[in-house]
């Protein structure tokens, strides 16, 4: 384990960003925490979690896939892929780190999505333990320990110091190039970990009962009338999917500028009516079917295909941001109770 005085964080960030791009949570002008490319003078946000999840690092909201030049009847394919370059994301919370593994099971499954894979391979993830979990946090319901997040490097921030523990080869090699990190006694963070775990114990949704969900629960849950009542006030705005660390549905669209056409991918949402709309018909005609799809996917279909792992990490972003105060906790409670 290593350590550095909190007052020297600036030197640490400067040293990392000398060799590669460094992204970390910084408060924007409205006071919200956002992953930002670090520049001299920027301070690490004191907020708990970023407003958007960390998935942007590997699965950006919009990215070019390829281009075409079309002349008469001829089509020429143009490679538009950005060159691979190593980068570091610092300050990723335990929930978001776990979400990377959930996204990996989609994008790295055969056939591998090479755009995602390229960024994933080139990134060193530095996680940060959650000193002060929020009331909306429920990562513990999914077996996540906010006191010991995963990642290539795990960090703990106390009043005086940042503690630094490399977990992987990638993390070790980054550490080796940062001489300002001094050796530390691993016992130093035990008190911090205990304090975090004690706080988490008291969170209202930490012990959320997920026993009604998981593998093989489709038939028991799909036709419950509660989907209709829960979804009645849903606006279909898609905010929940955009801020969600595990939502990975995408659309492929094109931008035409004369003879050159750019084909890009962008985030999409199963909450939108045109997500499944075909010229031949609309298989999910009302918001009830779309709403049900989103939660059944996270709580039943994904576990079905991934050894029981839920596609939710309890980050609580949807609890804070839904304009009608609907969220996955309400769904888990209502459907869970109805299914008993």
């Amino acid at each position: 384990m290593k350590q550095i005085p909190r007052s020297q964080l600036n030197q640490l960030f400067a040293a990392i960003s000398e060799k590669q791009k460094l992204y970390l949570p910084v408060d924007d002008t409205t006071g919200q925490s956002v992953f930002t490319l670090w520049e001299e003078g920027m301070c690490l946000s004191s907020g708990l979690n970023t407003i958007r999840s960390a998935k942007d690092a590997f699965f950006p909201q919009v990215e070019n896939l390829m281009g075409f030049r079309v002349e008469e009847r001829q089509i020429q394919l143009i490679e538009t892929r950005d060159p691979a370059e190593p980068f570091v994301i610092f300050g990723v919370r335990a929930c978001d780190v776990r979400s990377f593994g959930i996204l990996d099971r989609v994008f790295l499954a055969e056939p591998v999505d090479t755009y995602y894979a390229q960024r994933r391979e080139n990134c060193c993830v530095i996680s940060l333990a959650c000193g002060k979990p929020a009331e909306t946090c429920f990562c513990t319901a999914f077996g996540i320990d906010p006191a010991q997040p995963e990642g290539d490097v795990t960090c703990w921030l106390t009043e005086e110091k940042l503690y630094w523990q490399a977990n992987t080869e990638k993390g070790e090699s980054l550490t080796a190039g940062l001489p300002m990190l001094e050796n530390a006694d691993p016992a130093a963070v035990e008190q911090e970990k205990a304090a975090i775990r004690a706080t988490v114990q008291k969170l209202p949704f930490g012990g959320l009962d997920l026993s009604a969900f998981g593998q093989g629960r489709t038939k028991a849950l799909f036709d419950l009338p509660h989907w209709k009542t829960l979804s009645e006030s849903c606006l279909g705005c898609g905010t929940c999917t955009f801020i969600c660390p595990t939502c990975q549905c995408y659309d492929i669209q094109e931008f035409t500028g004369g003879k050159t056409i750019r084909r890009f991918r962008c985030w999409d949402s199963c909450m939108y009516s045109d997500f499944t709309k075909m010229s031949a018909g609309q298989p999910r005609p009302t918001q009830t079917e779309r709403f049900r799809q989103r939660f059944m996917h996270k709580l039943v279909y994904y576990p079905d295909n991934n050894e029981g792992i839920f596609s939710c990490v309890g980050c609580g972003r949807c609890l804070r941001k839904c304009p009608i105060h609907m969220n996955i906790v309400k769904v888990i409670k209502t459907i869970g109770e109805a299914a008993e």
Partner: protein, 274 residues
């Protein structure tokens, strides 16, 4: 590493007018060869850059060595553009996608009953011609095919001149309403199937509009067919074809990757969403 979303360039070398709203497109690679190998029932993503990309079932049989063919009904942006093009036009193509029909395993040695409605013949066309090319591997073949009118029967010439002429293949055609030049059966596919009283030991391969599937399935159940022995192929909106973009699922199955071919007992295990 090869990126699966990046397509290859193909050339449309021939366009055949099948019906007033169906054309069949012959596609080869830039090298003049068949773009890739496939299994009957598999699909490919075709696109016209600037218009869009869409998934189509491959109509030609894998035994066709020189090209891939797609019978496409005009019904949306991409298909409308395809219908307006001329031979020599380049398009993009990627695939093959999906599981395909179990032609060499579960179908082997069986009597086969194909039931198709309208453009639903397109994915079955590949299977039928594959079975014809490997005739010794299959028992009797019955084909029940119906459409709105005689003019809407896809591949009518091939059906009359080839399928109908072969021993061991029985073709039963029907159209929705009587026509002056039509001496064949008149009526909807589900009733026609019931009237034909096919032997329940046959393996059924069915594709057509959802309403036809629904009533034909009910008729087959009445006749005593086993759901484990009835296959169909599904179609939903798709963007990636790889099971990643997230929109073509029925329960925990992605139609693009786990389908498009399903047996009815497999569909019974999924939520009744479609």
């Amino acid at each position: 590493m090869k990126e699966p979303l990046i397509p290859m360039i193909g050339v449309v070398t021939d366009i055949r007018v099948d019906t007033p709203d169906v054309k069949t497109f012959r596609v080869v690679g830039l090298d003049g060869q068949k773009p890739f190998l496939h299994i009957p029932g598999q699909c490919a993503m075709l696109s016209v850059p600037g218009v869009g990309e869409a998934l189509f079932s491959i109509t030609s049989s894998p035994t066709e060595q020189a090209f891939l063919e797609f019978s496409i009904k005009k019904c949306g942006c991409v298909t409308e553009w395809l219908h307006g093009m001329e031979p020599g036009q380049q398009i993009t193509i990627r695939g093959p996608y999906g599981n395909g029909f179990p032609v060499d395993t579960e179908f082997a040695g069986k009597d086969l009953l194909f039931i198709a409605g309208g453009i639903g013949l397109a994915p079955l066309h590949s299977v039928i011609n594959y079975c014809r090319a490997h005739r010794e591997n299959y028992g009797k073949i019955d084909i029940v095919y119906g459409s709105r009118s005689k003019a809407d029967l896809v591949d009518f010439e091939e059906i009359l001149n080839e399928w109908c002429q072969e021993d061991g293949i029985n073709v039963h055609l029907t159209i929705d309403n009587p026509e002056p030049a039509w001496e064949g059966h008149v009526g909807f596919v589900p009733n026609f199937v019931k009237e034909l009283k096919p032997d329940t030991s046959k393996t059924v391969v069915m594709c057509g509009p959802p309403i036809m599937i629904k009533f034909t399935l009910a008729g087959l159940m009445e006749l005593g067919f086993d759901r484990n022995n009835i296959y169909t192929t599904m179609e939903l909106k798709m963007k990636c074809g790889l099971g990643k973009c997230g929109r073509c699922n029925i329960g925990n199955k992605y139609v693009c990757k786990d389908g498009p071919v399903f047996r009815f007992d497999q569909l019974d295990a999924l939520p009744d969403e479609y």
